[in-house]
Amino acid sequence: MALLHNKNVVIKGISACVPKRVVKNMDNSYFSPNDIKSFVQNVGVEELRTSGEDICSSDLCVAAAERLLKESGIDRDDIGILVFVSQSPDYYFLPNTACIIQDRLQLSKEILAFDVPLGCSGYIYGLNLVASYLSSGQIRKGLLLVGDTASKIPYPRDKSSGMLFGDAGAATLLEYDEGAGGGNFHLATDGAGYKAIIVPEGGFRNRFSTQSLAEYTSAEGLIRTPNSLHLDGFDVFSFGITEAPKTCKKLMEHLGISNDDIDFAVFHQANKMMNEKIRKKLNLPENKVPYSLKHFGNTSSASIPLTMVKQIRTELQTKQNKLLLCGFGVGLSWGTAYVVCDPLIVPELIEI
């Protein structure tokens, strides 16, 4: 059972960045107004931020990190680990984007920097990973960057995902702090469901070919290319409403805590129907469960920190908060974190 506790670590600050460009789903010309209306109503996404040709996940993360480093006033040379969690790196697997970011942020060369290609669960895994490195005190400060330009992965004519994904990046600063309670985690994996969210061609299993960009219509009438996102919405929905409440309950039972011990429960922003189902299964009141889905869509690995910065910034800045954070999706991979945070440095949402 992957229940983990990383002591002696605190989160110091969180920042998030989105592209300026707003795309309204009602203006989408690929789908009928009725389909769009039903999508907006049920899935809960009215508009998205999309980065277009010029902006990469790394650019969003670097902008978020620059602001966070500036506002926290720390010495960049103190950062000993940089992790970039993303499924939309700058280059096709090499080099790791984290290496490029080390230089862009002018961080010390005495740093561990690497990519972790996880999606919706990535923020939880990233927090656990950086906290693990910091826990022993051998590394004093760590920077976790999570971000995706997920809007670029679906085929635009694909009704299952063409209006769902927005782009965002976030930075989280963690520090060694002797005696601090740290973070508690439950992490899990089920690769049997790997086909539920997949880009079938373009990797090394099915190499990119002349056919990879050929449009075809699936059995359900979805228009896709083999090199675009294939989302089995039904499998993902089933998975989300079952496993997300389970992982939260597992960690809460392990820690002996109840909903009273949670100020905010921040979930990966998957789909309003799915997230509401999860919230209700956990009996969490609406005012403890913030959403950013309506204006930003599903922003993959960045969805949890983006929701925190956008929706509960003042609370995070001004008081102590007990936070339950839960990410679930592509892999299939999922996890939950429980962290108690003193007032954090949280710059206003950045737009580039």
């Binding site: 049920n42 009704k159 059995a219 359900e220 039904f234 499998d235 929905f237 089933s238 129907m273 799915m274």
Partner: protein
């Protein structure tokens, strides 16, 4: 799983379908109101009422409500 209860709960996921017109032989994907959103509501209903998972394959491969019921009923 009670078959009649399942039929009724299935019908309740639609706005404009008369529950009495739904039988185990109904080809649910041919119903005018059937959509991916209704499908999600059916998945949620089965999770809530029966604590069972409907997969994408279940919805693709079952044609009638009875076939869907049989697939679910055979699962522990």
């Amino acid at each position: 799983m009670d078959k009649n209860q399942f039929l009724q709960s299935f019908a309740e996921q639609f706005d404009d379908v008369d529950p009495s017109s739904i039988t185990t032989d109904t080809k649910f994907k041919d119903l005018e109101e059937w959509s991916s959103m209704v499908a999600l509501m059916v998945i949620a209903m089965v999770d809530e009422n029966y604590n069972k998972k409907i997969t994408g394959a279940d919805l693709r491969e079952a044609n009638t409500i009875g076939e869907l019921y049989d697939r679910l009923n055979s699962r522990s």
